[in-house]
């Protein structure tokens, strides 16, 4: 008898402040009793017995259960009150925020955004999976090491977004608890994808040049290369530890040169005293013993164009 179970449940809720054993004892026979009542007459239980809350009050009095306990808040009650207060506050925020953006309630607008969230979460979950699979940064597509990673990335992305939209329409059919569990796990799955977005943004902002100059506390504007005799080396290409050419080397060979531009990818092979010496007097005087000390007082300023 569904009506009876419902009525009993509401009476139980109204008696939540009682100690559990007292409450259970009090309600032990109530389902059977109400079933008898329901079998004996016309009309719903609420019509014949009044609302469950009123029934609970009368029951409480008749059974001699102290009703003064209501203010002696137990954990149950405190929690329930807190939830109710929070919900009431949220409803106020909801109602007040709506008109600011031209809607009746803020939640009306947020509900419109649900499909956008479905698309976004499809992307983020795909990125999370790709990132778990990848060894280093995967950029902005969920690339996998299958075939052409970029093509795979696009295919996976579309599949996940479509799947997420489909799931979004379907998940409303779930009961409350499974739906909450589903949404919570999706949000968790989105987190690595969001972290990846920050990583990609970080890479886009930081440049190679800044990273090189960081080694020199940011003071590095130009690089001058000399041989042991203090002769400036020309047509030199500087490589980093990964074999990549460091662009900073370019301006120093920008002085007039008969030779062709250095080709990329060649290991540096400094040639001794090739070509005419720069006539610029500002070049540092070579010392016998060692390489020039650019950081000392005689900072070389060969050409005004030598910028990083």
């Amino acid at each position: 008898m569904n009506e009876v179970a419902d009525y009993v449940a509401q009476v139980r809720t109204a008696l939540l402040d009682l100690p559990p054993d007292v409450r259970d004892e009090l309600l032990e026979d109530l389902p059977e009793h109400l079933a008898e009542v329901a079998a004996e007459g016309e009309g719903s239980l609420t019509e014949r017995l009044g609302p469950p809350a009123a029934y609970a009050v009368e029951l409480r009095a008749a059974a001699g259960t102290p009703s003064g306990r209501r203010r002696q808040t137990t954990m149950d009650i405190r929690l329930r009150d807190a939830v109710q207060r929070a919900r009431a506050r949220l409803q106020v925020v909801d109602a007040k925020s709506g008109p600011l953006i031209g809607y009746r309630k803020g939640s009306d607008f947020i509900r419109l955004l649900r499909p956008a969230w479905w698309v976004a979460r499809g992307y983020l979950v795909a990125m999370t999976l790709a990132e778990m699979n990848a060894h280093d940064s995967i950029g902005l597509l969920p690339r996998f090491d299958i075939g052409d990673p970029t093509v795979t990335g696009v295919v996976v992305l579309v599949a996940f977004v479509v799947g997420s939209i489909w799931l979004g329409r379907w998940q409303d059919r779930l009961a409350r608890l499974p739906r909450l569990a589903l949404v919570a796990s999706i949000v968790l799955l989105c987190l690595p994808g969001i972290t990846n977005l920050f990583g990609v943004d970080d890479d886009a902002v930081g440049s190679q040049f800044q990273q090189v100059s960081d080694y020199y506390n940011g003071d590095l504007d130009a690089v001058y290369v000399y041989d042991k005799q203090g002769q400036p080396l020309r047509d030199v290409v500087v490589f980093d530890e990964n074999g990549r050419e460091i662009g900073l080397a370019w301006p120093i060979v920008a002085t007039p040169s008969p030779e062709p531009e250095p080709t990329e990818g060649i290991a540096p092979e400094p040639t001794e005293s090739a070509g005419p010496e720069p006539t610029d007097s500002a070049a540092p005087e070579p010392t016998d013993s060692a390489a020039p000390e650019p950081t000392a007082s005689g900072t070389p300023e060969p050409t005004p164009s030598a910028t990083g």
Partner: protein, 110 residues
């Protein structure tokens, strides 16, 4: 004067009294009380009183299967219940006659 306030004090006695000659189930007991003139008795009061009297050891219970409808839980007086009925009945009688005399002496009639 609100009858429900008076009922609180004597509902135990009333329930014990209607069970004196014949066992009954919850809704049946309610009907007996109302038939006796206690129209204001609520179902929750009867159920709560039965629970309390049972806890106090005044009642025995047994379930009677029903052909149609749910099984019925019958309540009956045990020795403690009959004893309780005797004592409470006496207290009420004395109290009621005292009140009666008090009011009759001052010319008040029902």
């Amino acid at each position: 004067m609100d009858t429900t306030q008076l009922l609180k004090g004597v509902l135990d006695l009333a329930v014990l009294a209607v069970l004196k000659d014949e066992d009954g189930y919850g809704y049946d007991i309610l009907r007996r009380l109302r038939a006796a003139g206690l129209d204001d008795v609520g179902d929750a009061s009867v159920y709560g009183t039965l629970r309390r009297l049972f806890q106090a050891g005044c009642l025995t219970t047994y379930v009677v299967p029903s052909e149609e409808g749910p099984h019925r839980k019958y309540y009956g007086l045990n020795a403690a219940g009959r004893d309780q009925l005797q004592r409470s009945g006496k207290v009420w009688r004395t109290f009621a006659s005292t009140m009666d005399t008090l009011l009759t002496d001052r010319g008040m009639v029902a």
